[in-house]
Amino acid sequence: MPTPVDAVMLQQRAAQLGRRSIKTTSKAAALQMAVSMLDLTTLEGADTPGQVRALCARAKAPCPRDLGIDVPPVAAACVYPRLVPAAVEALEGSPVRIASVATAFPSGQSSLDLRLKETQAAVGAGAHEIDMVISRGLFLSGRQRDVVDEIRMVRAAAGDAHLKVILETGELETADNIRRGADCVLEAVASESDLGHGEVFLKTSTGKVSPAATPSSVLILLEAARAHYRSTGIRLGVKPAGGIRRSKQALHLLVMVRETLGPHWLTPALFRIGASSLLDDLVRQLIKLRSGRYASLDEVGIT
């Protein structure tokens, strides 16, 4: 039996959690935490090794040193498989992990065989984390069984690398579908007796489709992770991605995690935010907290 989700109360709750007032010390801690949970991402056709090196430098030291603000490194740098070697080189010896999209990102429209090979290649090149896409075509044609099987196979192909499963919520469209998509992931990992906390993530979007990580769609994933925790004791990770550009959105996400899954879920091991330009705003807000004035974009060392 699918788990129904009712959009009216879902949206009401998601909006309500956006009205928490996060100020002073709480805001400073939240901004730092958001940086540490960031999957700093570049997924463009124009990406080059040089561009990835710049991104990785920023991932290790998100705030230019001359600003004198102590900011932790981000959680991971997220790139296309072909650019994983560049990231490996640039991040050598740093705590920043390397995430690679795979499985014919963003559409997933290639043969299963090729998608599995791409996954193995990305891991082989040094990716610690694989961001896969589910086949929305299979899902929407009613073949959810096959979606579950594919997730299992990609998980096997990824080996020890952690797996983030992108549902592409904007294409699934309804709250019921998004929950059903998340439940496919729950089902795919249910048979893994030795699954560890945070080895598998539920991820909203590729960032290539709008709407992406809306508060409501994130809340559905959080509720699915909560259901899995209640029935198995295993904590799945959750990663909103796509359209998260402002600190205020990041704080809203942290509030949603805290009040849906609890404060112990607020760790980069269990919660990530996929974004590219969000880091600029987080750093500007940290500058604002310290100096009382908003910094211009020119001051934060954007890549």
Partner: protein, 487 residues
Amino acid sequence: MSNSGTIEWDYAPAPERIRPDISDEYGLFIDGAFVEPESGESFKTVNPATGQTIARVASAGAADVDKAVKAAKAAGGKWSRLKPTERAKFLFRIARRLQECARELAVLETMDGGKPICESRDVDLPLAAQHFFYHAGWADKLQWAFPGCTPRPRGVCGQIIPWNFPLLMAAWKIAPALACGNTVVLKPAETTPLTALHLARVFQEVDLPPGVVNILTGAGETGAAIVDHPGVKKIAFTGSTDVGRGIMHALASRDVPLTLELGGKSPNIVFADAAIDQAVEGVVSGIWFNQGHVCCAGSRLFVEESIVEPFVAALRERMGRLRVGDPLDKNTDVGAINSREQLNRIEALVACGQEEGAILHEINDDPLPKRGNWHRPCFFTGVEPSHVIAREEIFGPVLSVMTFRTPQEALRRANSTPYGLAAGVWTDKGSKVFDIAGALEAGVVWCNTYNKFDAASPFGGCKASGFGREGGRHGLRPYLNLRSSGA
């Protein structure tokens, strides 16, 4: 990666700092001005979250009521003959002014009544303004609201409102009365008089003609004097069922139309096929919104037996996340109990529930403030339909959880109450929604949601919850004499 290094992250205090312009003393608002009471008496109004006195407020006696009714009557002629589009302008200006000073009024509402600032800011104030906007639109369209009739105002309307939504109830009462061309004598509740008095300041600011609205503060005797005054041509009351019965008695021999919005013991019915996470949210907002000081609070929860265990577990966890405390903190979910008297009543009923063998669940361990009136949100399981806590209105943050096996049993149990104000139905199956909603004895039924209010949607009860509707076209009817155009 491990979980070590997790930052135990919580919300820093986020107090609303703005302070409204509060006077030390308030007179009665009669004929457009604040005046000393003939009675010479006054009483204090207290911040229930701190126990501190906020201001002294005049207590209106019979002579003051007489003065106010006469002022309302004198203003009535001109007001009722004013071009309807001009009346609409006044209502519109009141609405705009309420929006302009919404922040100050929200703080005042929270200080005087104890409700969390997020609620007075996001619910009470926007809805109060909406009621004036909405009724501004009706003022010049009354003959189309009641085709074939010539609608005429009734005259002086006596209105008595409760302490749970002080400003919002004032708006619910005053806006339709004025739109229909009536004049008003309104009495706010004894424990929460301040926002109504500041609404009077708004009336002054927008140059509402003197006497069109008069606001008399006082206790039950003041209300009784309004009800008994022969110059009053319509009574509207929101409050307890006992007082409502008394008013009905008093008006039994007089040709004064009456609307009553009284107590409730509203059922929230959750079927096994509902969207459970959302149903939990609905139950939470149904009972813990405004500390449960809500006439339509979903205070009886009926859960289908097959899902009661996970549902109660989820409810417990969610209840544990409610933030109880300083109502002026923007992150507070549950504020202070409105008065010592009400707290005593809640505590007595909770004790009664435990005596009768129901199990109390109360898991919010944060310390409560030392001063003021506080009660933790809680719920009872093991409640039988015959228990006092399942029958009497508690008007506090106390929920009774019961079960049912079939839809017919759910209906039987839900309807087994003297009250009939509101109800909630939670199921993903559309046909079931219509079956159940149609058979529930309640003035308002919410499906897969709860506590949704809109100026365009009539609100009111049946059975011991009263009669008459407020809001929408239905809400205009009690404020009009309808004569057939052909007669």
